[in-house]
Amino acid sequence: MRKPLTILIALATTMFAGATLADPARDAILAKFAAEAKAADPGFTGFSAARGGAFFRASQTGGSAETPSCTSCHGAAPQDAGKTRANKAIAPMAVSKTPDRFTDSDKVAQWFDRNCKGVAGRVCTPLEKGDFITFMAGQ
């Protein structure tokens, strides 16, 4: 039970070395998304910060008209605080500014689930989630 996870984490750590700020919990979350991405597409070779950044800024259709993009609430700069539609501040998404971002797997699952539906009208793929975290970990 422990061994495959260890291998996955080691694999993920190697794959994302240099691109992300290291945190064992975040690495484990990325490793899980990497395994899911690999299962969905055998040609998966790793997450991309550039793809994650483009996804963060992209304008989507299918979700709520008020929130067509991640940036609608999080703001254009990941290092800056965002603001909810109810006027409450959102801590910066950039891991350099909010170090505990993407270290709680339940929280990560809950917020991707809600916000992907709200912005894109669908769940996000493991590739999109992994790219997103990889991008934010490098910010």
């Binding site: 008020e66 929130t67 909810t84 539609r85 109810a86 006027n87 809950q110 689930d113 809600r114 539906k117």
Partner: protein, 160 residues
């Protein structure tokens, strides 16, 4: 000789108690409710809506005022249980937010309750349009202690 201090003590106790009952709410005592219900907006006190409203709010979390605010099943149950147990119509006395509320009404916003409307009716409509105020649901903009349950009228500061 001893009457004056006693009278003063009674006066202070009565004044303090009635002010407390009228304008303050107990702090929210559930960690999940605190975290989840304050992630996007002010942490509203459960005593401000009746049980039936909280049931409708929690059942509709997937479409929560234009946001998907759905929670995993275990958290949904925990949040609903706490809100219902501390709702306006829970307990023996009942909250002032029940005043004039028709039994058939299920308000989805605290700002729709007759009690809230009456307490804010003297405010000019222009106030709500100020960017500094934002929206009626931003209680803490004017009631600075709102998040901790302090709604004392004497401490209201309306921003320009």
């Amino acid at each position: 000789m001893h009457k004056a201090p006693l009278a003063a003590a009674i006066f202070v106790t009565v004044a303090f108690t009635s002010a407390g009952a009228e304008d303050s709410f107990p702090p929210v005592g559930n960690a999940t409710v605190k975290t989840e219900c304050s992630a996007c907006h002010m942490l509203y006190q459960p005593q401000m809506l009746p049980k039936r409203s909280w049931q409708a709010v929690v059942e509709g979390l997937a479409k929560h005022f234009g946001e998907d605010a759905s929670l995993p099943p275990a958290k949904t149950t925990e949040v609903l249980d706490y809100l219902v147990a501390n709702a306006a119509d829970a307990g023996r006395s009942g909250s002032k937010f029940l005043r004039d509320l028709p039994a058939a009404a299920t308000p989805m916003r605290i700002t729709e309750t007759p009690y809230w409307l009456r307490k804010h009716r003297e405010l000019r409509p222009e106030i709500w349009k100020r960017t500094s105020v934002g929206a009626k649901g931003n209680c803490q903009t004017c009631h600075q202690g709102a998040a901790t349950g302090d709604f004392d009228e004497d401490r209201v500061r309306i921003p320009k």
